[in-house]
């Protein structure tokens, strides 16, 4: 794995890259990418994985903040410029949560840059029944915890260290990165919160296959949004991961990697896979 910096639109963009094979780009949740994770390792056996920090995300060492950006669609435009600059050819674009929203916006604007769109618990659509869990009403840690169905899964990624009384148990660095990420989310998604009424009418223009993956216990983005994405995208398949929360990539990495690498996304139908890694 290596850290790669690329300049687009005057911004230094950071990615963690590793593995070999066709290019796969991952876009993270609004709380950011915690590092080179088991999901990246699992996918790196099949792809060259590029875990990109969205503009303004990743903390002091992450991607630069575009102070002009006012909407996730602006971030999608920057990601599009980044993809063109990288000259990968069509990529597998995997977007998780908030990153799924950016990926969906990207796909409506430049489907030719994609081989496949993979949405994992993606935000971006207004639920009709439920409500997207509002991070701005809770603490950073409470919000990130809510993305996991099991406390142990959260703690695997964000261990608590109780040794230093001056340091927050979750780590001062983690808090700073979370807060910078939350600030960027505030800048682009404060209102309306986590959806865009102008997205769904454009999803019909996503001419590449799509795979929609959702944890069956997602407490952040209601699962009805998964069905809406599948209805609106011309060629989409839904896979529901049992016993898993919102952050399927972090809570059930092996299952998600298996879903992505099991290959062909054929349209229609819903599959259940076995096994979050309990």
């Amino acid at each position: 794995m290596q850290t790669v910096m690329t300049t687009v639109a005057g911004l230094e963009m950071r990615e963690l890259a590793g593995g070999s094979g066709d290019p796969l780009v991952m876009l993270h949740h609004s709380f950011g990418n915690p590092g080179w994770m088991p999901i990246h390792d699992a996918l790196a056996d099949h792809y060259t994985v590029h875990a990109l920090d969205l503009p303004g995300y990743g903390g002091p060492e992450g991607s630069d903040q575009p102070n002009w950006a006012r909407h996730p669609r602006d971030l999608a435009l920057i990601v599009g410029q980044w993809l063109r600059a990288k000259d990968f050819g069509p990529v597998e674009l995997v977007g998780c949560g908030f990153g799924g929203w950016v990926a969906a916006e990207m796909a409506t604007m430049a489907p030719e840059l994609l081989r496949r769109l993979v949405l994992v618990g993606a935000a971006g659509l207004l639920p009709e029944q439920g409500r997207i869990y509002d991070q701005f009403l809770v603490s950073h840690s409470a919000y990130v915890e809510a993305a996991f169905s099991r406390a142990e899964a959260f703690e695997d990624i964000y261990p608590r260290n109780g040794d230093d009384p001056d340091e927050h148990p979750l780590g001062d660095d983690t808090l700073v990165v979370w807060d910078m990420n939350r600030e960027m989310t505030t800048r682009v998604a404060w209102k309306p919160y986590m959806y865009n009424r102008r997205l769904r009418p454009l999803l019909g223009g996503v001419t590449v296959p799509a795979l929609v993956v959702w944890g069956d216990s997602d407490a952040v983005v209601p699962i009805e949004c998964a069905h809406t994405y599948v209805e609106a995208l011309p060629d989409a398949r839904l896979v529901i991961v049992p016993d898993c929360g919102h952050a399927v990539d972090l809570e059930a990495p092996e299952a998600l990697a298996a879903i992505i690498t099991s290959g062909t996304a054929t349209s229609g139908g819903t599959a259940q896979v076995t096994g979050g890694e309990a």
Partner: protein, 430 residues
Amino acid sequence: MFLSYFTEQPMSAYPAEEGLKEGFTSVMFSNKYYDPVEGSRLFNERIEEYKLAEQVGFDGIMVNEHHNAPFCMQARITVMSSILAAITDRAKIVQLGNPLPTYDSPLMFAEEIAMIDMISKGRLISGIVRGAGQESVCLNANPAYNRERFNEAHDLLVKTMTDDGPFSWEGEHFQYRVVNPWARVLQKPHPRIWVPGVFSAETIRWAAQHRYPYISLNTPLHLTGDLWQIYDQAARAVGYEPGPENRGYLLRVHVQEDGDKARENAREFMWMQGEFTGIGHPYWVSPSGYGSSARRLDYAKMANAEVRGSRAAPFEQQLAAREIVAGTPDEVIAELRVVLETCRPSILMLWGNDGGVNHDDSLRCIELMGTEVLPALRDMGDELGLHDPIELDTPVSLALTPPDELNPIEEAADERPEDTSDSRALKMFR
């Protein structure tokens, strides 16, 4: 001295036990506990008290606004100011302050204050604030752009008050095809602008750079020296010599003939500080992007604290530190002398009544302030040379100061971080 009366206008009639159960009393504390019958009574009692405050000799009546919380009933500062414009005829109406960034239309706000200034026959002092973080949450104004919106709304407001329309405004956050309100401020060049705050160095400097008096909101007395040092340095750097006319102080003060009764009533000041019920969560008070990035870790730690500490210093400690002053008129006058000698403000806001202090006691407190405390304060002000900006007829801003009166002095860079907000004061007011 400019002496003003203030109360938070507490919605003291809500069931406190429900707030205790919930653990907080703002933003999300349900308004099902709001009793409008009691609200009506309390509003009308406050209005009677304001009338009395004018009668007994206060120079001003200070009003403020907050949202979604029982600690302050006023949701619109311009509504109460409008009422005061009609029911009083001498006292200044001191808005401290208008939370500019939370308003989606600074132009509509400019129309409102022009009407208030005309109806009050030029008695408006229109203070401005960024608004506490929870106000951004309650009014759904993006906290990450709070500072930018504040600056831009201020510039638009001043231009609207001073320039003839029509003109267009194409800002980063506000755009107007036509700015041309048919309501204009009576006071020329424009009503005075004062800036209240809780010791954010960034705001203190901003006020000084604009030559707006800074009104320190009950900042612990021992910190006010540092505060004015920040102000004075920024003032000299832009070319004027600051003095008491640039300094205001808000202090909790309660007076009764019986000193013990005064101190007992003064315990009600603790009602709002969360001694009885918590006010709000830190992630509402200082949302990400709202505060200075220099304090990011501090705010994130507060937001994610796994154990919450006590919010307020004990009553007796605050009394000893003169953060609350209570007693007989003589006792209060003696304490206030120390406050004036230490802080040297020319603008003093006496926050008289809070929590469950009843109407009769509130009226008596105001009366005693008027008959005994205010005359003594005026004498002390003269003795200590505390002359206010109205008395001295100082320019209303740096922009409206004749250039030949300005003499910028470069001083050593101030090493203080941008946001030095006292954490205790912050919990109380932001």
